[in-house]
């Protein structure tokens, strides 16, 4: 990299980092405190008994329990293990990184001057619909076709055990807090450590994503010109940005700041970037494999990609140039 390229990269890299870091901090502080202070069974109690209704509500739980996509996978792993219905778990897993106040705030802030309300609303709505759709489909599929064998076996074993111990209140799985006497400052330390760990986990991927974005933004990366050349193509642009979102693996709390910099791309292509990225990217493929079967992940990834692409192309074809830039 020559001196000019170093200078350009550094400027773009730092500016995006400065912009996104406070929002990542906010998200990880919340997730850290949820991790320590929120009993594990709390989410179960929020859900209606009706299966379909429960999935619809699960898609909105991110508004109450805001977590980014990196944090949501371990949470889901634990909740599924404790018997949260699979459809609800997947609806929450896919929707929570998008349908939550931190992501809404960062999207709205990042798109100032670029129809912020439309982008924020469109992102929430499309994200919610896809998440709930996946949840409803998954709720009709056998657990072994979705979950990793070890987890599915554990869920079934736990389910059988619960039936057997119906009224035997075992503290190890009820999720209640049974340690009220423990010092508050000890829990605060645990919460801050959890928040810091989350920040570093997300920060690493964010750094990689920002670095790649800065390389494209300043034209240093090979393929940056080619990517630009797709910007005006209503069919190729959403696909290209979804592929970029997949590679960049950005956090949903800060990806809007990067999408907003893709000035040559259409509104609907940016929307595709913002909806697809928090649901599927390189790091999530690895994280999902801790819970889901590979074959299911592949089918889900292709289906979500195709659905968002169709929506983006349809929007651009019929409404994009009339209503939005």
């Amino acid at each position: 990299m020559n001196a000019d390229a170093q200078q350009d990269f550094a400027l773009a890299f730092l500016s995006i980092l400065f912009e996104g870091a406070p929002f990542i901090l906010l998200g990880t502080l919340i997730s850290g405190f949820i991790d320590i202070y929120l009993p594990a069974g709390t989410m179960d109690r929020f859900l209606p008994k009706n299966r379909n209704l429960a999935i619809l509500v699960s898609g909105l739980l991110g508004a109450v329990f805001p977590v980014c996509e990196c944090a949501v996978v371990p949470v889901i792993r634990r909740l599924v293990g404790k018997g949260l219905p699979l459809g609800c778990a997947l609806a929450y897993m896919l929707a929570a990184p998008i349908v939550n106040p931190i992501t809404a705030l960062s999207t709205w802030k990042a798109f100032q001057g670029q129809a912020p309300w439309a982008m924020t609303g469109g992102r929430m709505l499309l994200g919610y619909l896809i998440a709930v759709g996946v949840g409803l489909i998954v709720s009709r599929i056998a657990m072994h076709r979705v979950l990793r064998k070890s987890i599915a076996d554990k869920v079934e074993a736990d389910s059988a055990k619960k039936e057997h111990q119906h009224h035997d209140h075992d503290h190890s799985c009820c999720g209640h807090d049974h340690s009220h006497e423990k010092a508050n400052d000890s829990r605060l330390i645990a919460a801050m450590r959890s928040a810091q760990k989350d920040f570093v986990d997300v920060g690493v991927y964010f750094t990689i994503g920002v670095a790649i974005t800065a390389l494209f933004n300043t034209g240093i990366a090979p393929g940056a010109i080619w990517l630009d050349s797709l910007a005006g193509n209503p069919a190729a642009a959403p696909a290209a940005l979804m592929a970029l979102a997949f590679i960049l693996s950005l956090c949903s709390t800060s990806d809007a700041f990067i999408a907003a910099t893709l000035a040559k791309f259409t509104w609907s292509a940016k929307l595709a970037f913002l909806v697809f990225g928090p649901m599927l990217d390189v790091k999530l493929i690895f994280l999902y494999q801790t819970v889901l079967r590979r074959k299911f992940i592949l089918v889900m990834a292709l289906s979500v990609f195709a659905f968002i692409w169709v929506v983006a192309v349809a929007w651009e074809t019929w409404f994009g140039k009339v209503v939005l830039p």
């Binding site: 390229a5 200078q7 550094a10 500016s15 901090l25 906010l26 807090d177 829990r187 920060g203 750094t207």
Partner: protein, 271 residues
Amino acid sequence: MSPVIRRILFSLAVLLWAAVILYFYQSGRIVKYLAPDFRLIAMAGGLGLAVLGLFNLLTAFRESDCGHDHGEGEEHDHEGSDMSPLASLILMTLPVGFSAMWTQDGFSQATLARKGLYEDAQPADTPFLASAFPAPTREEIENTHSKTADGYLQFSLMELFFATGDRELQDVMGGLQVEAEGRIVEEKNDNPNGTRMRLYRMFMTCCVADSRAIPIILEFGKEPPLLPDNGWVKVAGTMRFPEENGTLKAVLEVTRATAADVPPEEKFLRR
């Protein structure tokens, strides 16, 4: 790696981010990176990171208890990570550290060109600007723009650039005696006689990565005066919107051009 060492490494990574953000804020260099709305947020984020990193560093050796029970066979670990702590530290600190050393607080000419320095405004590119600046009458322009001592109306470069994409504005502004301010660079397009330069400023929405160059053409009618390349200048003359090679251009026929002070920041805060 022991949990204590992992905590210390993570705290150091967080503290480095805090230090870099707070340094750029405190030194005032942040104005080159972020739009005004984001600067306080960045400062708050820097302070928050400093608190998080210091808290965890100072309590790294203390025992903690999350206060809830975990199921049988579940790992009781709220700090475990899939990535090696050392790898996390390197990935979080090296790019930030090198960038802080490399940055010159501005883009090179090549990147400026990529960000629109040599592009002309098109009507389709400016729907939001159109709503922000509805076409005024000549009277309104004279009432809302102050005049220099030698009779030129003071315009922001944004207004002149935007007029290229708006036929109504061109009708009103064509022929006006205006003064504008910006950075001056060589004109690389359609300049066979070498009588043209280009005046630009950067327009930032959120951060400098999303900024765009807002340029107009300066026509001197003779060899341009010697002015520092990419330096700040004030230019005055007559505004024209000719069609050249099938494209409308914003051209200022310059009668006066002088070096100007560097403004406090790149954003359009003054004319």
